[in-house]
């Protein structure tokens, strides 16, 4: 069975969806990713959907769910590279994915992740900033 590869990039995980998602694939991605976040202790997840041309309400909701799960597992999530047609479809479906951060491309997404990590460490509750 085909799977979506999850690559480890320093303290981040990179998920690049380059094929059309079907429902089973989305569910297996959800399993794999949550498992991998816990196993590697990743601090951030970058989901690249630039290769995704078609979404339906299920895939849209799955993307939202995956981002939500990663957040509870203490990994900031950024969705990058959404195609215009996909964005329009999601909005028309009423899935504007509130609470999920987005970026135009992987570069900017990575920058956003680093920023949010730094903000976390700078916040008053954290005493020792790891090097």
């Amino acid at each position: 069975m085909e799977r979506i590869p999850i690559l480890k990039l320093g303290e981040f995980l990179l998920v690049s969806i380059q094929i059309d998602m079907h429902d089973r694939l989305a569910i297996s991605l959800q399993d794999d990713l949550t498992g991998k976040i816990v196993a590697t202790g990743a601090k951030g997840v970058l989901i690249d959907i630039s290769g995704l041309d078609i979404v339906d309400s299920f895939i849209g909701r799955m993307l939202g769910n995956i981002a939500g799960m990663s957040r509870i597992l203490d990994a900031a999530t950024v969705l990058v590279g959404m195609q215009p047609s996909v964005a329009i479809t999601l909005v028309e479906l009423g899935l504007s994915l509130p609470g999920i951060r987005t970026a135009l491309n992987i570069d900017k997404g990575m920058e956003l992740l680093r920023q949010s990590l730094e903000e976390q460490w700078d916040s008053p509750g954290v005493i020792n900033k790891p090097d």
Binding site: M82, E92, L104, N105
Partner: protein, 267 residues
């Protein structure tokens, strides 16, 4: 001929006389050839084809020259009187034959007149459609203001079809320019109703999904009142009074580097 001229008499000085005479002659000779077959009712028959083509071309030409539909229809209807006079002369002693012939001629001329009018309307609709298309194409420019900042000045009335194109253009421009911020300026938008507000919110949400922030600027007092009265929630969208304010905020958001470059340029 004088009746023909009367039908356009309120356009004095226009060089229509010569044209009118040519048209009348072509129409009459075509008509004579068509009725020679003895068929007065079925206008889709091949012998009528040249007459119909001529009338269609005439309507098209008159649409472009700015004639009214009634003037165009009168071109055909004005042939009735001379035709009836001729019939009256031929059937001077035959009341029954006169009535039959007059009826046939009336039906024929009426149908030709109606065909001409519908061709006229069709020609006019074509022009309207073409202009609408052109309006759609020219009215939605996406302008690059700065590295990573796009502006979309909206002018005129927003309807669903236009907003769809606006949304698509903006999102495609965001991808191709790699823009982080898009400013939607609605100074030129006359009215905002719930549908337009909905479309604006959708555009903002779609841009956010792609990783770009949207600022709406140029909201006029009446529009601000309408938006609140309609109960549209713009709380999640950043709004600024003018395009200049929005641009300033956008520059600050993408980082001070760009501002520094701007200041060092005049030196």
């Amino acid at each position: 001929m004088s009746i023909l001229r009367n039908s356009v008499s309120h356009r004095p000085g226009s060089p229509v006389d010569q044209q009118l005479e040519d048209d009348a002659r072509t129409f009459l000779s075509g008509l004579r050839r068509a009725v020679a077959g003895g068929n007065f009712t079925d206008l889709s028959r091949p012998e009528w084809q040249s007459v119909m083509e001529f009338l269609t071309n005439l309507s098209r030409r008159r649409v472009e020259d700015g004639f009214t539909p009634s003037e165009t229809a009168m071109f055909v209807f004005s042939f009735k009187q001379p035709l009836f006079e001729r019939i009256a002369k031929e059937f001077a002693n035959d009341a029954r034959g006169f009535a039959d012939e007059t009826w046939r001629a009336t039906v024929l001329i009426d149908r030709l007149g109606l065909e001409t009018t519908s061709a006229f309307v069709k020609g006019r609709e074509e022009i309207i459609r073409r202009q609408q298309q052109e309006l759609l194409e020219i009215s939605t420019p996406v302008v690059r203001l700065w590295e990573g900042i796009l502006a979309l000045p909206l002018i005129g009335t927003l309807d669903s079809a236009r907003t769809q194109i606006v949304m698509q253009n903006l999102l495609e421009a965001i991808v191709s320019h790699g823009a982080a911020i898009a400013i939607i300026d609605i100074t030129g938008v006359a009215t905002v109703d719930t549908l337009v507000a909905q479309h604006l919110l959708k555009t903002v949400a779609a841009a956010r999904l792609m990783g770009a922030d949207c600022i709406i600027s140029g909201i006029r007092p009446q529009i601000a009142q309408t938006i609140i009265h309609l109960g549209v929630d713009l709380a999640d969208v950043m709004t600024k009074a003018t395009l200049a304010d929005a641009f300033q905020i956008a520059l600050r958001k993408i980082g001070n580097g760009a501002v520094a470059v701007k200041r060092s340029q005049p030196a």
